[in-house]
């Protein structure tokens, strides 16, 4: 198969296992491209992409923008902070105004879950979801699974634990869908207040004890505590969270095997993981960032390949 089954990338939920394999395989080729002396290919030279960020982002936005430029697409950027959204314009109006400038693909981050799905039903452009509220963050899950595959060879039968604030995390949900589709076993671990009530229905294990979770897994994906999304207190204090769920070198040394440590960033050093762990050889955090550009190039390339030249 050499084509995605979907027109938009709205979430991992809508992708088949073959889609994920195709994105990973295409990313292999782009990873080679971005390690060349000249890191650019002309594939998307007649495609215009709008990056609409209705919520703050540094890493994802830079990564998407770099991926777009390395594919030779024309790029326009929009962030809600300096826009007419503040003046009361609706999402569809904002996007249709931008599409009137002949945009082919919209990369969107939005605080509301389902914003991408909604938009895909109402506008003509192809939508790539760059994070919608606490719902999904598909490119992050694709790059996480790609990074695990690169490190361990395959995901089949591998054990991955996602630690931290599962409740507010789109990374967790997308990762669960993605890892399960690729044949991995998934566990979530964190304070009971930050674990959604029916999460086990997705086919994941739940463990409240960090040490037991780490002992079980091959890979630990550490999530950030999202203070900005917490309207009430989910745990007594940051200090208590660190004592129960912070990964330190001591805990890792006490395990009888070496596990891989991942983090989608931005890291709160000394909270989810200590600096010593983040900078150790077990952590593949910076590989994740590098792979992020290759994965996003693959996604944009494959989405664009479904826009026929004559339809533009």
């Amino acid at each position: 198969m050499s084509q995605l089954s979907v027109d938009h990338l709205l979430g991992i939920k809508y992708l088949t296992t073959e889609d994920i394999e195709l994105i990973h395989k295409t990313a292999d080729q782009f990873k080679e491209v971005i390690n060349r002396p000249i890191k650019k290919v002309p594939s998307l030279r007649d495609i215009t992409i709008a990056n609409l960020f209705f919520e703050n982002s540094t890493r994802t936005k830079l990564s998407f923008e770099l991926a777009e430029k390395r594919l030779s697409a024309d790029v326009i950027n929009f962030s809600a902070a300096q826009s007419s959204v503040k003046k009361g314009e609706t999402l569809i109006d904002t996007v249709n105004n931008i599409l009137a400038m002949k945009v082919d693909i919209v990369v969107m981050r939005h605080p509301n879950p389902g914003a991408g799905v909604f938009l895909s039903k109402h506008v003509k452009a192809r939508i790539v979801n760059a994070g919608d509220g606490a719902h999904e963050h598909p490119t992050q899950a694709l790059l996480d699974s790609y990074s695990i595959r690169e490190k361990l060879g395959s995901l089949e039968g591998k054990k991955v634990v996602i630690v931290g604030d599962i409740l507010h995390s789109r990374v967790a949900l997308s990762n669960i869908y993605c890892l399960k589709k690729l044949g991995a076993e998934v566990m979530v671990c964190g304070p009971a207040t930050l674990i959604p009530r029916h999460i086990a229905d997705l086919g994941v294990k739940v463990e409240l004890n960090l040490k037991k979770a780490l002992q079980w897994c091959d890979v630990a994906n550490m999530l950030r505590v999202q203070n900005e999304r917490m309207d009430i207190s989910y745990f007594p204090s940051v200090r208590e969270y660190v004592q129960q769920y912070g990964v330190t070198k001591e805990i890792l040394d006490s395990l009888d095997k070496e596990i891989v440590i991942m983090h989608p960033g931005p890291i709160n050093r000394g909270v989810e993981i200590t600096s010593e762990v983040a900078d150790s050889d077990q952590a593949i955090i910076l590989n994740q960032v590098e792979n992020g550009v290759a994965i996003r190039m693959a996604v944009l390339y494959l989405i664009a390949s479904k826009i026929q030249h004559n339809d533009q």
């Binding site: 080729q29 491209v33 026929q308």
Partner: protein, 182 residues
Amino acid sequence: MSQKILLNAAQLDIILHRLACQLIENHGDFKNTALIGVQPRGVFLLKRLEKLLKEHYQIENLQTGLLDITFYRDDFRRGEEPLKANSTEINFIIENKDVVIVDDVLYTGRSIRAALTALQSFGRPKTIELLTLIDRRFSRHLPIQPDYNGRQVDAIGNQKVKVMWKENAGEDAVYLLKSEDQ
């Protein structure tokens, strides 16, 4: 589908030796030369020439690479089937080198146009030449001609040239295929 044999194994062998000798004639000890096979089908021809040059003609330090042109093609988003990428393996800089692009069949010339663009990502070569096994003349869309050529073929639109190698098809041969209904 009817097929006619254009080259059998013995003829192909003679042609490979001739192409190798022509390369040696122009490139001597290959000190400043790189042979680049175009993915996917040019790679078989490249590997054969490489083996011949190294084992039969004792050329040492031959530099070879594989080039995938998928992301440089001009029919992206214009065909039915999307393009599938292959791997590129060029582990050296081609700056100031004499590059020979190796491909099995030269048809419209568009693949070679894409290969020329793709090569720019690896530096500025001193010269670029083109080596092909089969040159389908009269079907070019672009002003591109081979510098080294195995056999020239006059094939018309609905005919297809198929190059088979022991490595991928179990025999060394070149066939001209013609579909009956046209």
